[in-house]
């Protein structure tokens, strides 16, 4: 029994409510406390990860109430890994936000920003460790609301519109989830995942249609929230309209939490009956569309952050693909891609944010000639872009390597080819900004004058993300070992 994972959630939740209070008395302290709390959550997650990799998965009963009544928290290697990814990226992004929000947000909503971020952190960690469907749903809802909050906090018309769209679609997703959970409860009489899974074989025999419906609603619900291809329409607006740090968290983490939750539910709840149902085929089809069409759509974008957002649509497809292929190496690749994409996409969004911070420009063409003026920012951007394309020695290569191997393991080399095609498309839209940043010139010379590097508080998190990306690329066994995968 280890209290740490639960404590990580609890302190983040508490912190979320304390922040406005602190802000009331000491304005400058609020952001420091918020970052401190996320740092503490990171420490707890790291300790949990060490514990789990040493002693294996464990379940924790809140307040020692036994299972049907109490709340069960279940932490295995995968969820410990997810906690670590979530808390570390959030910590770095919040560090970056300390300076960025001063510039990007107006005075009034700033105090809520930290609250929303901590809420998001708590709920994301809650989702990955939830042991029963009810808590899963609660945390999914909190994270959806908090995510909407971190977008609309910017307050301009575009952000509010995007939030509204996100909110509507996300609520539809939540409705589908709720229906699914209700159907499962109806046929099995339980909400705890382990208990349902014990009952589900009988239920599948007695009420197959209910179960099919529940499964469909589950896939659609999480599909909408994680922007699986035809259900992605909210994402580009939402992720590009948000303030840069929020975009980094939303694109880097939030969408993947739902993917993880979906596959947790599929394996832990539907595990015994899933074999006969072609869920994987459907998900693979959608993932293929996402991977190819997401990249195609990204190519047409003029605005940098919108391009990055469409790229997320494509990259989400990789994660879905890896987890749906089911072969060991494919799952390792998918999980690995959750981490590497979180690192890459958050560096990219943070770099885009610091360009915005310094120049106020947001189109891709505005990057021309910025390389020599903002070498660190554009260096981080280029490294992450190279990793996106899959240049070896960087994290993105490792996840693609395992995804492609896993696809051939599963006897579906077709998907390895899809990954190749999509990497090529990725190269087509990531290369021009990188090239023009370092070798291009501004049409008007006066534009770039006086632009220099972003402040250190913003640079440090970006550089750490880049180093992590390189570290994962050079020593992937560290991550794979945490996931319990060897080979």
């Amino acid at each position: 029994m280890l209290h740490l994972p639960v404590l990580a959630v609890v302190i983040s939740l508490l912190g979320a409510y304390l922040i406005p209070l602190i802000y009331h008395f000491r304005r400058n302290l609020a952001s420091v406390v918020a970052v401190g709390i996320s740092g503490l959550a990171l420490c707890f997650s790291a300790a949990t990860a060490v514990y789990v990799s040493r002693y294996g998965a464990f379940s924790y009963l809140l307040g020692m109430w036994s299972i049907p009544w109490g709340i069960e928290v279940y932490v295995d290697r995968m969820s410990a890994f997810m906690m670590l990814v979530i808390s570390s990226i959030t910590f770095l992004v919040m560090l970056y936000a300390m300076e960025d929000v001063r510039h990007e947000l107006t005075e009034a909503p700033r105090k809520w920003y930290w609250t929303l971020n901590l809420l998001l952190l708590a709920s994301m960690m809650g989702v990955v460790m939830a042991g029963d469907l009810f808590n899963l749903f609660v945390f999914v809802e909190i994270s959806s609301i908090a995510a909407c909050g971190t977008i609309s906090v910017k307050g301009d018309r575009r952000a509010v519109e995007a939030t509204f769209r996100y909110l509507v679609l996300s609520t539809l997703g939540s409705g589908a989830l709720l229906l699914s959970i209700a159907l499962l409860y109806m046929v099995t009489g339980n909400l705890n995942m382990t208990y349902i899974s014990g009952e589900i074989q009988k239920a599948a025999f007695l009420y197959p249609k209910n179960l099919y419906a529940a499964l469909t609603f589950m896939v659609v619900g999480f599909g909408v929230k994680s922007a699986l291809f035809p259900l992605h329409s909210w994402l580009p607006d939402a992720h590009s309209a948000a303030p840069a740090p929020s975009s980094a968290v939303l694109s880097g983490l939030v969408v993947k939490i739902y993917i993880f939750a979906l596959f947790q539910v599929l394996s832990r709840v539907f595990g015994p009956v899933i074999a006969g149902i072609p869920v994987e085929t459907v998900v693979l089809l959608m993932a293929t569309m996402a991977v190819v069409l997401g990249s195609v759509l990204a190519m047409g974008q003029k605005e940098l952050k919108r391009m990055l957002a469409y790229s997320t649509v494509a990259q989400v497809g990789y994660v879905f693909m890896g987890l749906a292929l089911g072969a060991d190496r494919a799952v390792a690749g998918g999980m690995m891609h959750i981490l590497t994409h979180a690192l890459m996409k958050s560096s990219l969004f943070l770099a885009a944010g610091s360009v915005l911070y310094k120049t106020g420009k947001k189109n891709i063409t505005d990057l021309a000639g910025l390389g020599p003026r903002m070498p660190v920012t554009m260096g981080v951007f280029s490294l992450a872009a190279a990793s996106m394309i899959g240049v070896p020695l960087l994290g993105g290569f490792v996840s693609k390597w395992y995804l492609a191997l896993g696809a051939t393991d599963a006897g579906k080399s077709f998907y390895a080819l899809i990954i190749i095609v999509s990497s090529f498309l990725t190269a087509l839209y990531f290369l021009p900004p990188v090239i023009s940043a370092f070798f291009g010139k501004q049409p008007d010379d006066s534009v770039g004058k006086g632009i220099d590097e972003a402040p250190a508080v913003m640079l440090v998190p970006m550089v750490i993300l880049s180093i992590a990306l390189l570290g994962v690329g050079l020593f992937p066994s560290l991550v794979l070992g945490l996931l319990g995968y060897r080979g």
Binding site: G390, P392, K400, T408, I420, A427, L474, P476
Partner: protein, 502 residues
Amino acid sequence: MISQDIVFSWLPVLAVIVPLVGTLVIYMVEYRSWRLRNALSVVTAAITLIVVLDMYPAIRAGKIIEANFPRIIPPLGMSFRVDPLGFLLAVTTAFIWLMVTLYSLEYMSHEHHKNRYYPFLILTLSGCLGVVLTGDLFSLFVFFELMSLTAFVLVIHEETPEAMRAGFKYLVMTIVGSLALFFAIVVTYELAGTLKFSPNGFFFDTSLLSFLGFLGYIVGFGVKAGMVPLHVWLPDAHPVAPSPASALLSGLMIKTGAYGLLRVIYNVYGADLIQAMGWYNILIWAAAITIFLGSAVAIVQDDIKRRLAYSSIGQMGYILLGMGLFTQSALVGDIFHIFSHAFMKSTLFLCAGAIIYKTGLRKIKDLAGIGKKMPITMGAFTTAAMAMIGIPPLNGFISKWNLSLGALQAGKPFFVFLLLVSSLMNMIYYAPIIITAFMSGDHINDDHAEHETDKKRRLFGEVPPAMLIPMVILALGCLVFDLFPENLPLYLATLSARLLFR
């Protein structure tokens, strides 16, 4: 049977690390002193050459050098393995690189962005050496990527719209190639469970997947090697780069594609499998088309550097052909041609660079009479061009002789005919340059009294010795490595051919 003792040595690692460290040091000092930057570039290239040469005793003794680092990027690991083939190419690479760096000092002195040029020049050396010194496909791929991506900076050095377009084309084709390689390596790893080169190949699988993997290798390495129809980037990218960089691109980097294919055919799939399945047919017919088209298109090029670039495509065709014939002498000719073409083409590009440096002229018809004003430059050019055509006392002759012999032994006389036709075409496009340069008088254009070109022609004159010496050494190399009785490259080529194919 040649003994294959394996010895451990840090030398191959060092050969890769020295330029990497050199790059860092150059990058750090270059804003303080340009003299130090130039000196360090030359010193780094020289030390690298010495490190590579240090491997010679072990290679001569018939040993194979290995160094494995399985803990980096497990489960693949980095590994280095130097056999005669790798050694021959590494020495060639390091030597020509040193010559080109020396040449660059003067050539680049009037250019812009020198602080970007030198670090990337040395960094590319690291990638290029890494390709030929590594012992498994994954490490090769890593260095292949490093080389390809850093070479982009050399290609677009001028930053003209033309260069940027060529550079983008280069980058896109490079990525197509590397993704094809990625796929092929994944397939190999999936089917064989390992990626380490071994004599006669390490897996036997005739499935469709295996074939797709082989195609992936052909595309991946073919892009770099300028194989038709994947050559589209080459005639744009090689000429727009500064001349020393063109020499490296056309002389050395293009060869890494051929080297990779050699490894894939003989050390990954194994000659038996490729022969049994007839997959080599793809390669030799692509090579035939490459030879023919490369040479034919070179004839109609007006720009001297573009003509040289197309000539490279044609010559790469020889190399691709040689590895698909599966006879001992074809392979000897093949490997020796990798070596000799490196010398010939870098000499030619350096000479073209000398002309451009002095006059800015690139059109062949404007070069009338230049041989009288720049006799040494054009002398070196003529030597290399003759070697290219395959005239006996020059090294190009040995490779063509062996290649033709190999084609005959393989029972494919058509390719001998093709080689002859191609030599004829080489003659057609090199001879006019030499003839205009030496024979035609330096008469001023009659129609326009004082034409712009004529003004430039007044500037003809020999380039400074700092540029002449590397050119002359390389041109002499074309001669020496045919005439001398103790022909080390040929010995190494024979040895590697025996190791690769028995």
